[in-house]
Symmetry: C2
Subunit: 326 residues, 2 copies
């Protein structure tokens, strides 16, 4: 048995130290862990992936913490990926929060991996996806993906979960606007956290109205519910998890039609992202190897061409026209 096979077996057996080492090696940009990923990929696809996103300060981490606690009490194993520089999981928040999280560090049924800065694997999105695959292949029942709802990559990562929670808080009028701007359509469940604050019912009404406005544009028959929580006091968590389960059951209907669609969309995005990074890296190596990159950059700096024209010409030269022979 070679090293790759050994690592694969250990990951599939859920071995924490092997998984942690693999994730570190992925971030270091080494080639061997990629071979492991290829092997374990076919063993992934069993975990239910829950995305948790929203603006900084809405309490995503506390909510994630409560969801871990709830799932563990039900005997479920949990993997967590935190792609959020403001998350205590990733080391960006106040000390009290961070200590509260660390109670899970001693629990063998929980595996937490934070991705605050980008590794060498090919961007934050690629790293997050790889970590999700590892946690899934390890046999975790649930994978929670906490991302800050700022920056398109972060929102995208949460959006490719099977069930995506978008978290907001009452009384931030402009927050609602920010949600409207693009994050609402990725929500399977909307959460108003810190619901004891003033303005919760107004926020609730506004969200319901927005959901109704966009309902006709949606392809899916799922209507996103709006839930109230006070994660700090552990209130509303059971109801939230019931909504998650409703969504799981919705996806499983008609022979798992919804889940198949969600999986198809995950696989499509994952493949296309890897292709984008892969084709670009390979091409740049070729351009650097034969001196073409230097020649192009020199021409742009000398204002003989511009980056737009130069990149278009190179793409055409490399891939040929869109309709062959035309």
């Amino acid at each position: 048995m070679n090293r790759t096979e050994e690592v694969v077996d250990r990951i599939l057996a859920g071995e924490v130290r092997t998984a942690a080492r693999l994730m570190r090696e992925l971030d270091d940009g080494r080639p061997e862990p990629r071979e492991v990923l290829k092997e374990i990929y076919r063993h992934s696809g069993r975990a239910h992936i829950i995305g948790i996103t929203g603006s900084p300060g809405v309490g995503k981490s506390t909510l994630t913490d409560r969801l871990i606690q709830f799932l563990r009490q039900k005997g479920k194993t949990v993997g967590v990926v935190a792609v959020d520089p403001t998350s205590p999981f990733s080391g960006g928040a106040i000390l009290g929060d961070r200590i509260r999280m660390q109670r899970h560090a001693l629990d063998e049924g929980v595996f937490i991996r934070s991705l605050a800065t980008r590794g060498h694997f090919g961007g934050l999105t690629a790293s997050a996806r790889a970590v999700i695959t590892v946690l899934d292949a390890m046999g975790k029942d649930y994978v929670l993906v906490e991302t800050v709802g700022v920056g398109q990559d972060e929102v995208e990562i949460a959006a490719t979960a099977y069930t995506t929670l978008v978290v907001t808080v009452p009384g931030m009028g402009d927050d609602i606007q920010a949600i409207k701007a693009g994050i609402l359509e990725v929500a399977d469940i909307l959460v108003i956290n810190k619901a004891d604050r003033d303005g919760a019912s107004r926020t609730y009404q506004e969200l319901i109205q927005m959901l109704e406005l966009q309902a006709h544009r949606k392809a899916s028959a799922w209507m996103a519910p709006v839930l109230m929580t006070q994660a700090k006091d552990n209130e509303g968590i059971e109801e939230l998890m019931a909504a998650v389960q409703n969504h799981q059951e919705f996806l499983a209907r008609d022979g798992g039609k919804g889940l198949l669609l969600a999986r198809g969309s995950r696989v499509r995005q994952e493949f296309l992202e890897l292709l984008k990074e892969g084709i670009f890296r390979h091409l740049v190596k070729q351009l650097e190897g034969d001196g073409r990159l230097d020649r192009i950059l020199t021409a742009i700096l000398a204002q003989q061409t511009d980056p737009y024209s130069a990149s278009e010409a190179l793409v055409l030269e490399t891939l040929g026209p869109l309709t062959p022979g035309a």
Copy 2:
């Protein structure tokens, strides 16, 4: 004179309405404005581009507002690109802030463009670069690029400015850590805003120490200064702009060696980003056109292959091996 030439002439003459329309058209993903960009690109490169980045809540927008005010008082024209969902420029903050900003809307010497959500142009980074090019070609003396220091794209956009300000506030111990994590190396000038708060001198000491620790790793002879501001009360702005000018003079030394390097690195990143997007889009269109994409995704879903192996194989098939003939 055709339409492209007419638009180019108007942009170069600094015409605000034409520029605003061009930027909207760019976001809509229309092809014509790209032709305009190609033409005006050679007229860009004269503005001094200042990046302003940092965590949400450090007062980047207020600082930007004060810098606009200062530069206008000196008779300089200013373009602003706000890539920050928490910025009042982009519509994400409290009403008071937003009203304060709008005083510049009546000033012909200031052009503000916010990019809160992604357009169709090819991602936030590509849009931001295009807007910078337009503002530069319009003849603005300074282009201020405000981005939230969360998310790699956002930091990268600020980092490609000629002078990058990294803004923090006192007393956020973990904020310093976040800065350490990657944002410090892009700073040409460090700003401690809200410097009347407790802990300002401690934050100052910590930043100085960190800068000394990383000094030996830096290729440039420039030592980033640490400045204190209270943007809200307009304090420290003159000193900050003096530091910006010092950095400008540093870049202009030895026949503009530093500026040439900075420009080279800007052009390199701009070209590579356009190439990455361009080669990927073209390839995906080809794959969709001949049915290959569907076949690959079906094979992954059937677990006959995985996204890693499938993308590697396709890259090799498309571009050939790295060493031809090997």
